[in-house]
C-alpha cells in the first residue's frame, strides 16, 4: 500500500516531464512533485472564515478513500492480503465517495468558483461513472468475476483471445480515465483560467497541508487508473499469489514499466489534443457510455451465437 503512495507523485512528474519535452521545454525534474508536496506540507493553512469542519476533514477523507481504492488494485501481484476486501464495483464507488467529499468541500466556503467546480465535476461524474461501470461489466462478464485479482489472472491466460468488446471496453475506460483525472481534453490540471477549471476550481480555497493531501490523492487516482488498465488489459508479468516472493522483483519491474509507458502515452496524448468546451464533455463521455454498452451487447451476441 505504501508503494502506491510513494510512486504516485513520480508518475505525475513523469507526465509533466513528457509534456514539457514535447513542447520543447526542459521541464522540471520528475521528482518535482515530491518537492511541491513537501513544501505545501510545511506551509501553514489559510482557511476561509466561512469554512466549516467539513472543509478540514475532506482532504483526509479524499486521500483515504482514494488510497484504499488504489491499494485494492493489483499492481504487480495478485492474491495479496486483503485484496478480496472489495471488487471492481467497490473501487469505482470508493472513487465516487472521494469525489462526493471533494465536491462538498468545493461548495463549503460559498464562493462561485467552488460551485462551478462542484457542479461540473458532478456532471462529468454522472456520465463517467456509468461508463466506467459498463466497462467493468463487460470485463467482468468476460472474466466471470468482478474480483480484480481473478480478472487479472484470467486475462493473463490464453483462452481470452482477442475480443472486440474488450477493445471497446478499453477505449471506454481510457476516456473515463481522462475525465476522472481531470486531464485534457476534459479538464486542464495546469490551468488557472477560471472558466475552464473543474477540478482546480473545487480545490481553489485549499492551501498548505490540505492542498498537499488533495494533490497526493489526485496523483494516486491517476496511478490507480493506469495500473487498473494495466492489470486488466496487459496483465502479463503480474505474479500470482501462488508464486513465491522470488517472482516479485521481476513483476515489480514489469509494473514500473507499465506505469512508465502509461505516463508517456498520457503525456503525448495531452499535448497532441486541445481541450474541449465543457458542454461537449457529455458527448465525449456519452461516447464512452455507448462504447461500454455496445461492448457488453456484442459480448452477448458473440455468446448467444
Amino acid at each position: 500500500m505504501a508503494l502506491v503512495v510513494a510512486l504516485a507523485p513520480a508518475l505525475v512528474g513523469l507526465v509533466r516531464k513528457v509534456r514539457a519535452r514535447m513542447l520543447r521545454r526542459r521541464g522540471a525534474s520528475i521528482l518535482q512533485p515530491y518537492r511541491d508536496i513537501l513544501r505545501l506540507m510545511r506551509k501553514e493553512v489559510v482557511l476561509a472564515e466561512n469554512a466549516s469542519w467539513l472543509f478540514r476533514v475532506v482532504p483526509y477523507m479524499v486521500f483515504a478513500a482514494t488510497w484504499v481504492a488504489a491499494a485494492l488494485v493489483p499492481t504487480f501481484a495478485t492474491g495479496l492480503q486483503f485484496n478480496w476486501t472489495a471488487d471492481l464495483i467497490a473501487i469505482v464507488a470508493l472513487l465516487g465517495s472521494a469525489r462526493f467529499f471533494l465536491a462538498l468541500a468545493g461548495m463549503d466556503v460559498g464562493t462561485s468558483f467552488g460551485g462551478i467546480g462542484a457542479s461540473r465535476e458532478m456532471m462529468i461524474a454522472a456520465m463517467a461513472e456509468p461508463a466506467l461501470l459498463l466497462a467493468a461489466f463487460s470485463v467482468s462478464l468476460v472474466a466471470g468475476s468482478t474480483q480484480l485479482s481473478t480478472v487479472a489472472a484470467f486475462m493473463a491466460t490464453e483462452d481470452v483471445g482477442l475480443r472486440v468488446s474488450l477493445g471497446l471496453a478499453l477505449v471506454a475506460l481510457v476516456i473515463v480515465a481522462l475525465a476522472e483525472n481531470a486531464r485534457i481534453p476534459v479538464d486542464n490540471p495546469t490551468t488557472h483560467l477560471e472558466l475552464t477549471m473543474v477540478h482546480e476550481a473545487m480545490v481553489l480555497e485549499y492551501s498548505g497541508r490540505h492542498l498537499a493531501m488533495i494533490e497526493i490523492a489526485a496523483a494516486l487516482k491517476l496511478l490507480l487508473y493506469i495500473s487498473l488498465i494495466g492489470c486488466i488489459f496487459v496483465p502479463w508479468g503480474i505474479a500470482s499469489g501462488g508464486s513465491g516472493v522470488a517472482a516479485y522483483p521481476l513483476s515489480l519491474a514489469f509494473y514500473l514499466g507499465k506505469l512508465a509507458v502509461g505516463g508517456v502515452l498520457l503525456g503525448v496524448f495531452e499535448v497532441s489534443i486541445a481541450k474541449m468546451r465543457v458542454f461537449r464533455v457529455p458527448d465525449f463521455l456519452g461516447a464512452a457510455l455507448m462504447l461500454g454498452l455496445l461492448g457488453m451487447l456484442l459480448l452477448f451476441v458473440s455468446r448467444s451465437l
Partner: protein, 670 residues
Amino acid sequence: MSAVDLSLYCVAALLALGLAAIALRRSAAISALVYFGSALLSLVLAGAGVAVLAGAAEITGRVLPVGLPWLGSHWRIDALSAFFLLVVGFGGAAASVYAVGYGRHESEPQRVLPFYPAFLGAMALVVMANDAFSFLLSWEVMSLLSWALVMAHHRAAGTQHAGYVYLVMAGFGTMALLLAFGLLAGSAGDYAFEAMRAAARSPAMAAVILALMLVGAGSKAGLVPLHVWLPLAHPAAPSHVSALMSGVMTKVALYGLIRVVFDLVGPLEWWASPAVIVLGAGTAVLGILNALVASDIKKILAYSTIENIGVIVAALGLALAFRANGMAATSALAFSAALFHIVNHAAFKSLLFMGAGNVLVATGQRELDVLGGLIHRMPVTAFLVLVGALAISALPPLNGFASEWLLFQSVLKSPELPQAGLQIIVPAAGAMLALAAALAAAAFVRLYGVGFLGRPRSDVAAKAIEVDRFALAAMGALALVCVLAGIFPGVMLDLMAPAAEAMVNGRLPVQADEAWQTLVPIAETRSTYSGLLVFLFIVFSATSSAWLVHRLASRRLRRGPAWDCGFPSNIANTQYGAGSFVQPLRRVLGTILLGAREEVAMPPPGDNRPARLLVTLRDVIWDGGYLRLAALINSAATQMNRLQFLTIRRYLSLVVGSLVSLLLVLTIWN
C-alpha cells in the same frame, strides 16, 4: 402468545391511541403520550417481526370473526410479512420518537394525533393480512389515514390539490387491486390467500394479474407514470409523516406487489419479467432526474424516493427473470438485494426527511435557494444529514452501497439467462441503474452543498438554531443503522434469508461465518465485498495520515477571507444556487425528459434593467397524460350536463323513447 396475536394487540392499542387522541384533544400532554405510545408499540411490532425472521417464534395465523362474514378475516405472519413488519415497526418507532420533539411545533395537533397511530396500525395490518378483503380493507384505510395526515395543513397553498390527486390515485390503484384480486379469487369468490395460492391459472391470466398489480401497487409505491401524486403529497405532510410515507408506506405497497406476484399467482413466464425490469429502471432514472431539478428539499427527497422504488422494482424484476429460469440462487440474490435496499431506503430516507423537518422547524423554509450555511448553525443535524446523503448516494462503506452492490452482482449474472431478450435488457437496465446512482450522488451533493454548506442566503437561515434532543436522537439512531447495516451487511442478509427463501425458494449462502464480515453472494473467486474492512481501512488511513501530517508537518492554521481567485464577493447570492448547480446536467439530460427550456430575456439597448435567464420545466407525463385525461372528463361532463336543463316535455320524450325502443327490441326478439 404467538407473534401474530401480539401484533394484533399492538395494532388494537395503536387504534385506541388514535381514539384517545380524539377524546383528550384538549389536554396538553396528549401529543407526547401518543408519540411515546406509538414508538413503544412500533418497537414491539418490529420485535415480533425479528422474532419470526430469526425463527424464535413460529409462523402462525389467526382468524378473527370480522370482515367478510362467511370468510372471517385472516391474519398471518410468515417470513415475508415478518420482514415488512420489521420495516414498519422500525420506521414507525423512529418517526414517533422524532415526532415527540417535532410534534411540539405542530400548529393544529388535533389534525395529526388521531390519525398518526392509526396509520401505523393500518400499515402493520396490511402486511399481516391473509385474505383479499382484509388486505384491501387495511390497504385502503392506510391510504385514507395518510390522506387525512397529508391534509393536516389544509390551509397551506397546494395542499388541497396534493390531497386530491393523492386520494384519486389511491382510489384508482385500489380499483386495480380489486380487479386483480377478483381474478385471483375466481368466480367462486374464495378470497382467502391459501385458496388463491392453491388455484391454478394460465400464464396469460397470471400476466394480467401482474399488470394489474403493477398498476395498483405501483401507483401507491410511485412507479412512473403513476407517481404524480407522490412529489405532491409527501412534501405536504408533516415531516415525520413524510418520513413514514416515503420510508415505510411505499414499502408496504411493494409488499403487496411481492405478496401477489411472487407468492399468490404462482409461476410466471420469463416474458413477464422484462416489463418489470424496464419499468423499474426507467422509474429510477426519471425519478432522480426530477429530484435533480427540484428546489424544494422535501420534493427532492420525494423524487429520490421514486428513484429508489425504481431500483427495488428493477431488482424484483430480475428476481422474477431468474426464478422463471429456475436459477433459484441468483433469484435469491436479486430478491435479497431488493429486500436489503428496502430496509436501507427506509432508514436513510426517514433520516433525510427528518433532517428536512429540522430545517423546516429551524427556518420555516423548504426552498434550497433561501437556505445555506446551516452546518454552522445546526451542526448535529448537518452531520446526521451528511451520513444520510452519503448512504443514499450509494457510497461505501454505508448501507446504500451494499444493497446496490448486490443488485449489480445479480445484473452480472445475466449472461447465464437463456433468453437473448433478457440478456440484452438486463445489462441495459444495469446501465440505467448506474446512471441513476451517479445522478443521485449529484442530487445530494446539490442538496447538501446548497442547503447546509456555503453562506446563508436569508436571515432565517442565518438565525437558524439546532432542534430538540428527541428529534436528534431519532435521527442519530437511524444514522447508526445506516452505518451498521453498511458495515455488517451479512447480518442483515442472513436475517432476511427466510423471506427470500419463502418467495423464490432459494437463498444466499450463509454470510455469518465469512471472515471480516465479507459478503460472498456467489463465490469467493467471483465477487466479494467487506464493508467492515473498507470502513476500517478508510478510518485507519484517514486518521493515520492526519496524525502524521499534524505530527511531522505543520499544524499551523490561520483564518482569512476566502480567496476566490482574488475577488471574493460578500453577496450571498453570488454562490452557486440550486438552479445554477444543476444547470449543466439540466442542459445535458433535461431537454427531452424534463422539457427543460432556457431563454435569456435581454432588455432592449438603452434599457438598463438586468438581463434575466428564464428556465422553464414541464412535467411531460403530467401535462401529456393526466391533464389531458382531466380535460376529457371535463368536456364529457359539460356535454352531459345539458341534460340537467331540459324541459319536462323533453324528459318525457326520453321516457317514451326508452319505452318504445325496449318494445321494439321485444318485437324483434319475438
